[in-house]
């Protein structure tokens, strides 16, 4: 197990380096950003030549003159934890990330917990009560949740609860302290939107995975031994079903954070990591892009490692060749 983990960690470093390098090259060889093009256009209108204006723009970015110089600067920075200066926000990258992650976390975390607990619970119930009225109702809710586009649902909720009934704020503001009623109120809608689509997804997965074990021989054996229905469900159906569900969970959390999260962050104006990283990409803020790419890559790779270790705990049949 130790050797396995060491090998996996070494691979993490290589995989991260490859990802970051590819990202760097993609940005560096992209055409000038919209902000850069506008800047050049403005300078040219005031009498500067296009070439001079482009040089001035590069000078203001301060990344270096050649591709190699820029690459070396960024890589050394990443390794030494000096993640550089965000040209999009004109502040240190580390400050941008430390100030934005908490905003994502405070709605992604509750939405994830909510979706896992409710989604898995309802999915499991549906599986063990197949073809009942409750199962159909749960399926209907799940498909509705999956089908509703997040951006549309979010706008509808704002129109309903902010404009029509005036009970919740129409956008997120940072003026409220973390542990305040104001903050809770403005987080309700994002959590509901994110939670709805996530619950639905988790529910369908949990139901499908659990169904595989509902009629399994060892479940029948457990029932024959006189175990209660609750024990059978949790220990003999849910536990093996958890293995693939954990895989889904890691992927989903990342997906929620950086994809679903982005749409919500734009609509509710939550200044979180999704919004910041997306803006960094479209405005080609290389240091910030590299840092925001680095984080999910590390989470994904480490998440996969944790997930693999969890498999051995959850399923005795899985091992890495060094089980004692």
């Amino acid at each position: 197990m130790k050797r396995y983990i060491a090998k996996r960690l070494a691979w993490t470093v290589v995989a991260t380096w490859i990802t970051v390098t590819i990202t760097f090259l993609l940005i560096d060889f992209s055409p000038i950003s919209a902000g850069g093009a506008t800047f050049v256009d403005q300078q040219v209108q005031s009498g500067m030549s296009v070439n001079e204006a482009k040089e001035l723009y590069q000078h203001q970015l301060g990344y270096g003159d050649t591709v190699w110089e820029r690459y070396a600067n960024f890589m050394i920075g990443l390794v030494t934890l000096d993640w550089g200066w965000s040209t999009l926000y004109n502040q240190p990258v580390i400050d941008v990330i430390t100030s934005s992650w908490i905003y994502s976390f405070q709605y992604v975390f509750p939405a994830t917990v909510l979706s896992v607990v409710l989604g898995f619970g309802i999915g499991l119930y549906s599986a063990t009560h197949q073809h009942t009225r409750e199962d159909y109702a749960a399926t209907l809710v799940a498909f509705t949740g999956i089908s509703l586009p997040n951006f549309w649902f979010a706008i509808m909720l704002i129109l309903l609860f902010s404009v029509q009934f005036d009970v919740l704020p129409s956008f997120y503001t940072t003026k409220h302290a973390l542990l305040s009623l104001g903050n809770v109120k403005q987080l309700l809608l994002p959590i509901v939107v994110l939670g709805t689509s996530a619950i639905a997804t988790e529910m369908r997965y949990a139901r499908a995975e659990s169904l595989e074990y509902v009629q399994a021989e060892f479940v029948k054996t457990a029932r024959a031994k006189g175990l209660s229905e609750g024990e059978v469900t949790l220990r003999h159906i849910f536990r093996p079903a958890m293995v693939p569900l954990i895989t889904i969970l890691v992927g989903d959390v990342l997906g929620l954070l950086f994809a679903g999260g982005y749409v919500l962050e734009v609509i509710f104006q939550i200044p979180g990591l999704g919004l910041v990283s997306y803006q960094a990409i479209i405005q080609q803020d290389t240091p910030l892009v590299l840092a925001t790419v680095l984080i999910p890559v590390l989470i994904a790779i480490l998440g996969n490692l944790i997930q693999d270790v969890c498999y051995t705990v959850l399923d005795p049949r899985i091992d890495f060749g060094d089980r004692e």
Binding site: P31, I32, A34, G35, G36, A37, T38, F39, V40, D41, Q42, Q43, V44, Q45, S46, G47, M48, S49, V50, L56, H59, Q60, W85, T87, L88, Y89, N90, Q91, D95, T98, S99, S100, I102, Y103, I155, I158, L159, S162, V163, D166, P169, S170, F171, Y172, T173, T174, K175, H176, A177, L178, S180, G182, V266, I267, F268, Q269, P271, L275, V276, Q279
Partner: protein, 576 residues
């Protein structure tokens, strides 16, 4: 001041900045984040607006084009307009420890940073502080490498007095984008270490520069919180220097100011409708709907930007576009009034030249107003086509009998630009028999790979849409670069390659030095007359900004291109 999440994590109670319930708290929505607070580099409106709340400009102009003193209280000029003396306020104070704001700070910022050697501080728009000359006169420093530019001479002549000398007469100096709206000044003491080391990067990264914490009493508000992708919160500045002047004793009438980033249009519109914010831009298509709402007022204001259809008159464009009569025919074939009415929802004025009708340099008797005339357009085009191009079966064809197809590239980010492109495509097709292929392209690609690229490298384009250009109605000579013909037009603002047969650029340069106002006015009126006839672009329209406010906002000014100059005196009444 708190930046980032520190304030947010500092306690368990709400900060004193309360929301829409407090009618003295202005919450303005901005569609993007302010990228930079370094006053030497700012070129975007979002950052500029934020800085304006905490640092007044040198001076502005009101709706009647009269001088509005701010940090600069007064000005004088000599007879030949080569020397401009500006008197600064004596009540200006920087934040501790920098003391009084004096002429020394201004001269230092201008001469050492803006006019700094090799632009070491990577200043944007430094070109505003120099002018073209035949030869650099004695006493002036050369700007640039080719000896055709000279820096203005800026000197301190008193504690609160600076003199700007120009190498040539510059009667339009006051209204040119040099000191008008100028904010690029910081305390000398703050800048000195960076100036000595020529450390532009350090100056840009300085916490006080990026945190706007040096502005003392120089603005109506003081920055309290700057939060990335979220907001700038600035309470009223009780020491505001402007309160020492008559009429401003109580300024500002707003207790707190928040700029809230709101990237999503639907969220901005929901928020103003719900009363959660004070002000946001309203899309023209929904202006009537919001005008009819209780609690919201819509105020359209004119802009100085002319949205136009550009023609590629370079070697890689369709060469008949180099002929004025062809361009006139293309203008006559497009119903610009219909574009304004149906695509811009009436929030624009049809343009006939690169000067709005309200400009003092616009002369009806000189400007040719091309009417929409499909038949006349067709006749004119047929008469003007020369060489290999002709009409066959109602279509324009080339020497090989192939139907001519013009490539119309336009910025794909704006709905009105897309609709305008489709409309013009139909007009050319139906009225002129000209086939147009639409090429929607991202803004940056359009500029970088089409407009500012030399023939051979550039992607193919004949027509270009989605570009607005400042007409500088107060100092139109600033448009000189649009018309200056060079061997490499793609490296200049005249990237479409207009060959300027009537010497427009030279006339503008000449006008900039003309000391007699009547003479200057006549020269400019003639220039804009020639441009209306020449149609180097199809001047489509001057758009309007559609501003939405809660109904308790009571502006103290009339809608104009100066809109917002007097915002420190605007009233916020109690909302009914």
């Amino acid at each position: 001041m708190a930046i980032g999440s520190t304030a947010f994590l500092s306690g368990c109670t709400d900060s004193p900045a309360t929301g829409g319930s407090n009618q003295k708290h202005w919450i303005g929505a901005q569609g993007s984040e302010a990228p930079n607070y370094n006053v030497f580099r700012i070129t975007d409106t979002t950052s500029g607006n934020r800085v304006s709340r905490v640092l007044d400009p040198a001076y502005g102009f009101d709706e009647n084009d009269d001088f509005v003193p701010r940090l600069v209280r007064d000005y004088e000029t000599n007879d030949d307009f080569t020397e401009w003396t500006f008197t600064l306020t004596e009540y200006g104070e920087w934040s501790d420890p920098y003391g009084s704001m004096t002429a020394e700070d201004w001269v230092y910022s201008i001469t050492e940073i803006i006019q700094g050697e090799d632009n070491w501080a990577a200043v944007s728009m430094a070109d505003n502080w120099r002018m073209g000359v035949d030869e650099v006169p004695e006493g002036f420093e050369t700007a640039g490498s080719d000896g055709t530019q000279a820096w203005f001479n800026v000197e301190q002549t008193g504690d609160y007095e600076i003199v700007v000398r120009t190498p040539e007469p510059f009667p339009g100096f006051l209204k040119a984008p040099v000191l008008w709206g100028f904010q690029a000044v910081v305390p000398k003491e703050l800048a000195e270490p960076y100036v000595k080391e020529r450390n532009g990067d350090g100056l840009n990264k300085d916490e006080e520069i990026q945190g706007l914490s040096y502005t003392g009493n120089l603005g109506a508000f003081t920055v309290d919180e700057l939060e990335t992708e979220s907001r700038m919160y600035a309470p009223r500045n009780d020491d505001y220097y402007l309160r020492n002047y008559e009429g401003y004793e109580d300024a500002p009438n707003i207790e707190e100011w928040t700029y809230q980033v709101m990237r999503e249009e639907s969220t901005r519109l929901s928020a103003i409708q719900a009363g959660d914010i004070t002000n946001t831009g309203i899309p023209a298509r929904r202006a009537d709907e919001f005008e009819a709402m209780n609690g919201v007022q819509v105020i359209p204001t004119p802009t100085v930007y002319c949205t136009s259809l550009m023609y590629n008159m370079r070697a890689d464009g369709w060469n008949p576009l180099e002929t004025a009569e062809v361009r006139q025919a293309l203008t006559m074939a497009v119903d610009r009034a219909a574009i304004v009415e149906n695509i811009i929802y009436g929030y624009a004025d049809v343009a006939h030249t690169l000067q709005p009708a309200y400009s003092e340099f616009y002369d009806d008797s000189q400007v040719v107003e091309w009417e929409y005339d499909p038949d006349g357009a067709r006749d004119r085009l047929e008469r003007s086509l020369s060489g290999q191009y002709t009409y066959v079966d109602g279509r324009v064809v080339d020497g090989d009998g192939e139907v001519v197809t013009l490539n119309y590239v336009f910025s794909d980010s704006s709905e009105s630009t897309k609709l305008t492109a489709r409309y013009i495509q139909k007009e050319f097709e139906n009225n002129l028999g000209l086939t147009v292929k639409l090429d929607p392209t991202p803004w940056n690609t359009m500029l970088d790979e089409y407009f500012y690229s030399p023939p051979g490298d550039a992607r193919q384009w004949d027509l270009m849409g989605g570009i607005g250009r400042n007409s500088y109605p107060r100092a139109p000579e600033a448009t000189e670069s649009y018309w200056r013909a060079t061997d490499e037009p793609w490296n200049t603002a005249n990237a479409y390659g207009y060959d300027d047969p009537h010497g427009i650029a030279d006339r503008l340069a000449e006008s900039a030095r003309t000391t007699d106002l009547d003479e200057r006015r006549a020269a400019l009126a003639e220039v804009f007359g020639i441009l209306s006839e020449e149609q180097p672009w199809n001047f489509l329209y001057f758009g309007k900004d559609v501003n939405g406010y809660r109904s308790y906002v009571d502006p103290t000014e009339e809608p104009s291109i100066s809109w917002g100059y007097d915002i420190v005196r605007w009233q916020l009444e109690t909302e009914q």
